[in-house]
């Protein structure tokens, strides 16, 4: 009997096509907006998490004077150079709560002829104790980085693996590209081993390098904290015991970015919520009108043997079918818009991937579809109850 009621519902909807389309459109708008916003929010969250994981460090120690530059470099990826004494690395190693330490040195590629590419971050890292690049090297390259080899961040798209670039007239072969992280600091940088930096320094003075640095300098010390301790506490210890440094907790930077982006997304979600309420009201009003308009018809159904539950199910089915269609079309439309404007979204939000992983994606679709269905079901509930409790003769007379 259920399929007969479904068939009856479908016939009713098809005959009043414009009204059906209006309800589908209302639900579609809600579903499209919600799906787009939640997909972007999920992508931003995944990108930030991936970026933080790629950075690998709980704390980034920089010279106090360079704090602003360092935060800016971390978030924007714009090259900035600052240096401190390498002895600080050993001091930090001894501080309570510090599990492992590695250092990095920053160079900016020169705009002069000595460098093939200018205005890029060249990040020298220590292969012996690095925990940022080494995991990638181990999994992909399978060997240590040679002194004449470099790894590119995924954001530098003009060159590919195998290409040779000159920095300060020293040739370096690109042996790999890091996975995109969404962090400009990593994605727009070139990674060189300390041995490679030494090669550059050996020729830098001759070629007019902008930053004349000594081998006893580092730009930053990256710290991994013991799991039992809070990075905020360890950063306080570092600042208390090492002069002239600022210990930046990386999660705090990510959290502030996340907060700003989510404030923006929440505004859009609020609009979605308003649209949802409006869709609820519209669908509710329309179904109230439908029940009024079909009083006699519903009375005839009861005369022909329809139970109250049949009438209730008929109205709810009509609402569910329209909501389902609106939801499905809305999700497809939302996904289509995201796909069409993906480049603009990547750029404005600085995320490497737009689509969440499969499980989360399916979850988002399920969430949006459920909300779409609920829109119709909630809105049609009161009219459906009213329709099912009409006295058949009153319903039949009411249509006169």
């Amino acid at each position: 009997m259920e399929w007969k009621i479904v068939a009856l519902a479908q016939k009713n909807l098809r005959r009043k096509i414009f009204r059906s389309l209006a309800i589908i459109a209302a639900v579609m708008v809600v579903a499209a907006t919600l799906f787009s916003v939640t997909t972007i929010m999920e992508s931003v969250e995944q990108s930030l998490q991936r970026g933080t994981a790629r950075l690998g460090a709980d704390i980034m120690v920089v010279p106090t004077k360079a704090e602003t530059s360092a935060r800016s470099a971390l978030l924007s990826g714009r090259p900035s150079t600052f240096y401190m004494d390498k002895a600080i690395v050993e001091q930090i190693k001894k501080i309570r709560g510090v599990r492992s330490v590695t250092s990095q040195i920053f160079l900016k590629s020169s705009p002069y002829a000595c460098c093939d590419v200018s205005d890029l971050f060249l990040i020298g890292f220590d292969p012996e104790n690095d925990f940022t690049i080494k995991p990638w090297l181990t999994n992909t390259l399978g060997r240590p980085l040679a002194a004449n080899e470099i790894i590119m961040g995924r954001g530098i798209t003009a060159y590919t693996t195998g290409f040779t670039l000159n920095f300060y007239n020293q040739p370096f072969t690109i042996v790999g590209m890091l996975e995109e992280t969404g962090m400009e600091f990593i994605d727009n940088s070139i990674f060189i081993s300390y041995a490679g930096i030494d090669r550059i320094l050996a020729n830098a003075e001759k070629e007019g390098a902008q930053a004349a640095i000594s081998p006893n300098q580092v730009s930053t010390v990256l710290v991994q904290v013991d799991p039992e301790l809070n990075p905020d506490r360890v950063s306080v210890f570092i600042q208390a015991q090492v002069d002239g440094v600022k210990a930046i907790v990386t999660d705090r930077i990510i959290a502030s970015v996340r907060k700003q982006l989510f404030i923006l997304m929440k505004s859009v979600l609020s609009v979605s919520a308003i649209l949802w309420v409006m869709a609820l009201l519209l669908v509710g009003v329309v179904f109230s009108m439908i029940v009024n308009e079909r009083r006699r018809e519903l009375g005839i159904f009861r005369a022909m043997g329809a139970r109250k539950s049949h009438i209730f199910r008929l109205i709810m089915l009509e609402a569910a079918i329209l909501s389902f269609l609106g939801g499905a079309i809305g999700i497809a439309a939302g996904g289509g818009v995201l796909f069409l404007f993906k480049d603009a979204i990547y750029q404005s939000l600085n995320i490497p991937h737009l689509w969440p992983n499969t499980a989360r994606f399916v979850g988002l679709i399920a969430f949006c579809m459920t909300l779409s269905l609920l829109t119709g079901i909630i809105a049609a509930l009161a009219p459906a109850i009213r329709a099912s409790t009409l006295e058949p003769y009153e319903a039949v007379r009411g249509g006169e």
């Binding site: 009997m1 007969k4 009621i5 068939a7 009856l8 016939k11 009713n12 098809r14 005959r15 009043k16 006699r296 018809e297 009375g299 005839i300 159904f301 009861r302 005369a303 022909m304 043997g305 329809a306 139970r307 109250k308 539950s309 049949h310 006295e391 058949p392 003769y393 009153e394 039949v396 249509g399 006169e400």
Partner: protein, 222 residues
């Protein structure tokens, strides 16, 4: 088969109670072919709907095959209407979103019967009513008389034990009226279908086996 005892029904009209049915008692046996004659507002349609369980009386009982229909659950009463009764309404009672065949098969939508099993019966009835070429038409494409004939076909699709008809030949020509009455008599003779016809036409009433008159809510045997 149908026992009506001391039935009363009052409606509020402009805030004042109006007694549509006043202490009506009636017994209808299986296979009876009877009519209730009366002017508009006499309460005859209300009585028909009380017997059909479409409206609840203020007091009194309606028993069908010994069962008080108002003691039944909604499911049981609906089942009774679906399997044992059918209605021919005074007004156009076709569902506008269904075509002619689907309208005739409407009782099957809410009952245990399968539409496919009743399709032949539906087509045969429609052919008898001269509507063989209108099977896929929608009500808006039919005249008033044609709509009435479709409603009559629907009344017989489930081979009901009881047909409750309100002005069944109201907007039909003489010839079609004769055909309809022949169909009624046919079912009455072959299937022992009980007919209760409500009408304001004394000519139509005269063609039934027993006539009652309804006046201001009171019923009397003629």
């Amino acid at each position: 088969m149908i026992h009506v005892e001391h039935l009363n029904k009052t409606y509020p009209i402009d805030g004042q109670p109006f007694k549509a049915v006043d202490d009506v008692s009636l017994t209808i046996e299986r296979g009876d072919f009877l009519s209730i004659l009366g002017h508009s507002g006499s309460g005859k349609t209300t009585l028909l709907n009380l017997i059909g369980g479409l409206t609840k009386p203020n007091s009194g009982t309606v028993k069908i095959d010994g069962q008080d229909i108002w003691r039944l659950s909604d499911s049981a009463l609906s089942g009774l209407r679906n399997e044992k009764m059918n209605f021919i309404f005074q007004f156009s009672s076709l569902i506008p979103t269904l075509n002619v065949v689907d309208n005739v098969l409407l009782p099957a939508t809410f009952g245990k019967s399968k539409k496919a099993d009743l399709l032949d019966t539906a087509v045969t009835l429609l052919e008898m009513m001269g509507l063989a070429n209108k099977l896929r038409a929608y009500p808006a494409q039919l005249s008033g008389g044609q709509q009435r004939r479709v409603a009559i076909c629907r009344a017989f699709i489930n081979e009901p034990a009881i047909v409750l008809a309100d002005e069944p030949t109201g907007d039909l020509d003489e010839e079609t009226e004769r055909d309809v009455l022949t169909l009624f008599r046919d079912f009455n003779a072959k299937k022992k279908t009980t007919f209760l016809i409500v009408t304001h036409s004394s000519d139509l009433a005269a063609k039934t086996d027993r006539q009652y008159r309804m006046t201001a809510g009171h019923l009397e045997l003629l």
